[in-house]
Symmetry: C2
Subunit: 220 residues, 2 copies
């Protein structure tokens, strides 16, 4: 799913990409940045590696981004835009009307696993920056987006007459964050453990856990 | 709970601490290392910071540890020893005989939260090293210890006639890892988010999730 990247030029250090060719180079550099971050980590990734992975010159990189941090800032904004839009689209899918909520939660977990896997490089960089003490605004902005996702899920459950607790918004926010924490950890450690991110046993268990967390009854 | 530190001298770069005074300095340096890692992160922590936090000289540090990495190696080994022992002791507590399993799981989560909180510095350093690509042996050794904890929990549940699935060992391992992932994330981000690590809403939700994950019925 493509993101409307025009908002990226609002970010500090991300330069306007007005022409199609320039926007295309920007998108290629963003994708290359994620690949290089996934492979080497943020600190070890050099602008020259990212440019090479994007088939761009280093000069072309610096016409689009002030530095590596500006590219990361753009990845972060892209990801935030994706979070809200993905959840809204997912819950609005017409086929849910005759599916048990439990199965919808299972599909949601599978989707989250794929998204997190695809953005391995972003998460590796995010965690490195956060742990180095540089990432507080990134974490807080992501949290606002995650909270919105949790509220969307709570509204969806309420409409279906499911979900427990007076604090259903807060419960959904926490339960989704739990599932994401597990999946992100699995992705970040995959190179070490050799594990598949979301094999059936893990998806089954996370579905049971998410359903219990938010108060959705499993099918008999 | 004190750990028998004699095994630490088996580790590369950790020098023998034969006299009481030397063992005491080693223990003080280990505790100081965790505090400094928690505050500054691994990469920014200098040996001189750790020595100062332990009220030791830099020379005293280097008589006990070859370098910062050797101190981290010792913290990691201490933590691994703690994991197996804590779970075995916890499950063997006589008061569980007349308590519902659900309540035992809740207590287990509260304990895990406190242990992870206490070892914030170890986890911050572990994640930093892992994400920088330096931590694979640390992660794999921790995983062996975590797997053993999961098997202990599975055996405990079987003995009580609870727990579901043919793969109960694997299910318990994954479910405990899930709970730990959430708690570790909460601890690592606490400085940014200002959240309490394990407020009642979070403990309640994690208990529901863990119980559903391993197949323990909640009380009516």
């Amino acid at each position: 799913m493509a993101v409307d990247n025009s908002i990226l030029t609002e970010l500090d250090g991300v330069f306007p990409a007005n022409q199609a060719r320039s926007r295309e180079a920007q998108a290629r550099l963003l994708a290359a940045g994620e690949r290089v971050f996934a492979e080497k980590g943020y600190d070890e990734a050099h602008v020259s590696d990212i440019a090479a992975a994007a088939n761009c010159s280093v000069g072309s990189f610096y016409r689009r981004f002030r530095d590596k941090e500006a590219l990361f800032r753009a990845l972060h904004m892209q990801f935030i835009l994706r979070i809200g839009r993905n959840m809204a689209r997912f819950l609005a899918m017409p086929e849910w009307s005759d599916k048990p909520t439990y199965e919808i939660l299972r599909t949601l977990i599978g989707n989250s696993a794929r998204v997190i896997e695809r953005h391995h490089g972003f998460f590796r960089a995010l965690f490195q920056r956060t742990l180095a003490g540089a990432g507080s605004s990134y974490i807080l902005a992501l949290r606002v987006a995650d909270n919105e996702s949790g509220r969307l899920l709570a509204a969806f459950l309420r409409e279906r007459g499911e979900g427990v607790g007076e604090d259903l918004d807060e419960t959904c926010i926490l339960a989704l964050r739990t599932v994401d924490a597990v999946l992100i950890n699995r992705v970040l450690r995959r190179q070490i453990t050799g594990d598949t991110v979301a094999p059936p046993l893990v998806v089954d268990m996370l579905t049971r856990m998410l359903a219990a967390g938010v108060g959705v009854t499993p099918p008999d």
